[in-house]
Amino acid sequence: MQPSLEIKLNGKPRQVQAGANLAELIEELGLSGAAVAVERNQKLVRSREHSAIRLEDGDAIEVVTLVGGG
């Protein structure tokens, strides 16, 4: 059985496989190609870097999109 680690995703705890990268997380969420942007520990991660960023235990990940606003 593979070890897992816990991150905070959009403010809520979530278990992810150890060794997973950001691109894999986005895909798992069904958001590949969607109009979203991602922050890791309060720093923007550009999409071309998503596969290079390996998730670490305790990471705070924000995945945001655009909604109606004024």
């Binding site: 958001l31 991602v38 922050e39 995945v63 655009l66 109606g68």
Partner: protein
Amino acid sequence: MSDPRSVPAHESDATLDVGGVSLRSRLLVGTGKYASFEETRDALEISGSDCVTVAVRRVNLDASQGPSLLEFIDRSRYHILPNTAGCFDASSAIRTAELARAILDTPLVKLEVLGDPRTLLPDPIGTLEATRELVAQGFQVLVYCSDDPRLCARLEELGAASVMPAGSPIGSGQGILNPNALRIILELVKLPVIVDAGVGTASDVAIAMELGAAGVLLNTAIAGAREPLRMAAAMRDACKAGRQAFLAGRIPRKLYANASSPLEGTIAQSGGAGP
């Protein structure tokens, strides 16, 4: 003039150039609070605007992903202006602006750094800080702010692309509470001044434009009207009316009368008294 109907010159007007984009309409509209994305799309279209604001929010991971707002906004037609609404400090606002830029690949941002969730009024310190940082990062920063004229002047010094003083608090529908402040801002600041927040109805837009504002941004006044699409049409026309009236040069105010019909040449007054 042979055919006034075909003389666009009387109603033509330079575009509103702000933040590197050139807008044909001086009405900027938000996309919040509509009943549906279809209504949003239709209201934008009827409003005649070519610049619409959006907010940045966490993806809702608990729900299956439905259609996205962006599918309803034709980017060949509208400039999208992401905002930092909901941020209560400079740092969150800067992060939000960066996230929006990553999605939209636009340098435009409508900066909001709010002071408290009750009044949603802008915090001057956080707003100044975030403006400085975002300008340094190459953003075109359109800054939501109070109608304090010297604050607007400071924002101009920091390199803002536009100052957007509130006519009255967000969503209050009170219109332009202090036209005098707006007049002074327009004297002090060379940037485009776009009145943001507070519009309640069409005449509020006309008043802002008549004072010389470069544009008006609104959302709730359309989305919250009983008939949003009809109100979108009203706002479109009011914006044009106010702009034209500003350019046309209104008559001065007087205590009283100035006859529109000639006073001479009336028939002999019955009583012989006459004027």
